[in-house]
């Protein structure tokens, strides 16, 4: 592990950092990926390497000591990492999403700016605590409430799932603004390591994404007034948390799908070589799957670019518009569907060699990891939301 005081290092400049994350994927994440999956353990070596190159400050503005990467560059780095270890990529993505929410508060609070400086200089890892027992999976509803206690607040929450909560430095927690507030009157509260107790209430033994270490957990903590994000969570979710999540999650799935296709291609190439250069019959299936991968990549990069463009012109209203919501929901629907299809196609191309866990052409882990995609915010729920948006939208087709 990298010690905090050793983190002051020579930081690669963007877009070098994107390539550096890719290198960490190849050289650190891939060799560990099998063990991370088998043992359902945190990819500690990969996260340490990411911290050492300053990647956790990727979304922090340059003025605050970060790398100032846009969503497109963050997406590319998640995709490159996802080609080697889906869990590592998803952890990096979730961290960036939390940072992006805080960056949106710039200019509202100098204390938040100071904290963002610490994220960059100390490479603090932030986990998200948005899920909660008793909300039926609705992120826009909370049971837990902020309780004022003199100059500080306290907060207790029972979450259904928290990714890498034990390994994170700090937590961003959704809660009702105060005890008398409605379930939807939510704020985001930052809890700093040392100020909270995080207690897993179970284990994380899942089909895939096993290294994200996402068990149910209880959180009990306190903080100073500045640690309550001033902007209402509903607005923040609409213009930052949800769209950035969709783009970065989709980038992780793109990485996994790319990995699966690379395995399938490798399998067929070795067959072709062994068969004196004859094109194996399954190569036609590979070409069809390759076309799907291209669609997926184009959809992810286009959405990331669209988001960066709106962010660049500072058009928050447009970022929070129903048109943008529909566009990002579509990204999530398409990307999760395509990524699963691509991984399943790759398995079919590899045949039994792909099905075996002990073969160099195994795509079991990739398929299991990517099967989480349609479940992270249920696709059915997004379809229902989009159905309403189609009734009212006047956008050109």
């Amino acid at each position: 592990m990298v010690r905090r005081d050793e983190v002051a290092r020579i930081t690669p400049s963007p877009p070098d950092i994107v390539q550096e994350v890719g290198r960490i994927g190849r050289e650190v994440a891939r060799p560990a990926a099998r063990a991370v999956d088998a043992e359902a353990r945190f990819p500690a070596e990969t996260m340490a390497a990411l911290k050492a190159c300053g990647a956790l400050g990727g979304a922090v503005p340059i003025a605050l000591g970060g790398l100032g990467l846009g969503v497109a560059a963050l997406a590319e780095s998640c995709s490159l990492l996802g080609q080697h270890c889906a869990s590592s990529a998803m952890i990096l993505a979730m961290h960036h999403i939390q940072v992006a929410c805080l960056v949106q508060q710039r200019g509202r609070s100098t204390a938040t700016d100071r904290y963002l400086r610490r994220v960059a200089s100390e490479q603090r890892l932030i986990a998200s605590v948005t899920s909660e027992v008793g909300t039926g999976g609705d992120m826009r509803s909370s049971v837990a409430a902020i309780e004022q206690d003199g100059a500080r607040f306290t907060l207790t929450k029972q979450a259904t799932t928290v990714s890498y909560g034990c390994q994170a430095d700090d937590l961003l927690v959704t809660a009702r603004r105060q005890a008398s507030a409605s379930p939807h009157d939510q704020v985001l509260a930052l809890l700093l390591r040392g100020d909270y107790v995080f207690t897993p209430a179970g284990i994380w033994d899942s089909l895939g994404m096993r290294g994200t270490c996402s068990p149910p957990a209880s959180v009990e903590g306190s903080g100073a007034a500045w640690q309550i994000v001033p902007e209402p969570f509903g607005d923040l979710a609409a213009h930052t948390m949800v769209p950035v999540s969709h783009v970065l999650w989709a980038s992780c799935w793109l990485g996994v799908a790319t990995d699966a296709v690379a395995i399938a291609r490798g399998k067929l190439r070795s067959e072709a070589r062994a068969g004196s250069g004859a094109v194996p019959p399954a190569a036609q299936q590979l070409s069809a799957t390759g076309a799907k991968l291209q669609l997926l990549r184009n959809e992810v990069t286009a959405a990331a670019d669209d988001y960066d463009r709106l962010l660049a012109v500072g058009d928050r209203a447009e970022l929070g518009s129903l048109g943008t919501a529909l566009r990002m929901n579509n990204l999530k629907l398409s990307a999760s569907r395509l990524a699963v299809e691509i991984a399943a196609d790759s398995l079919a191309i590899c045949g039994i060699a792909g099905y075996r866990n002990d073969s160099p052409h195994s795509v079991g882990r990739q398929l299991r990891d990517v099967l989480s995609a349609p479940l992270m915010i249920q696709n059915q729920r997004l379809l229902e939301t989009n159905a309403s948006l189609w009734m009212v939208g006047k956008w050109e087709l």
């Binding site: 447009e318 518009s321 006047k394």
Partner: protein
Amino acid sequence: MYKRGGPGTSKRDGTFVGESDLIIERVRRGAAACSQVKVDLSSLGDEDSLYDAGMNSRASVNFMLMLENEFEVEFPDHMLRRDVFESVASIANAIGTLLGS
């Protein structure tokens, strides 16, 4: 702030009711009649957040459709935003703009 009042008509009892008051009342009646809007507007002020009171984005869209029908207007794309449907006042303001009042 959304200003109540404005040009309007005098009711029979002599009180003056501005056009924007009428819009606000119709918006409130619409919300009460829209089964998707599970928010009790009678306890909310004109400026209070409907989202904080529990209206989700899907319900806001259903509400929008209903208001389009009620006022015979169409919310253009640039008005299909969270902040436009934030409160009774912001909705009435948008409808007022569309009605040209």
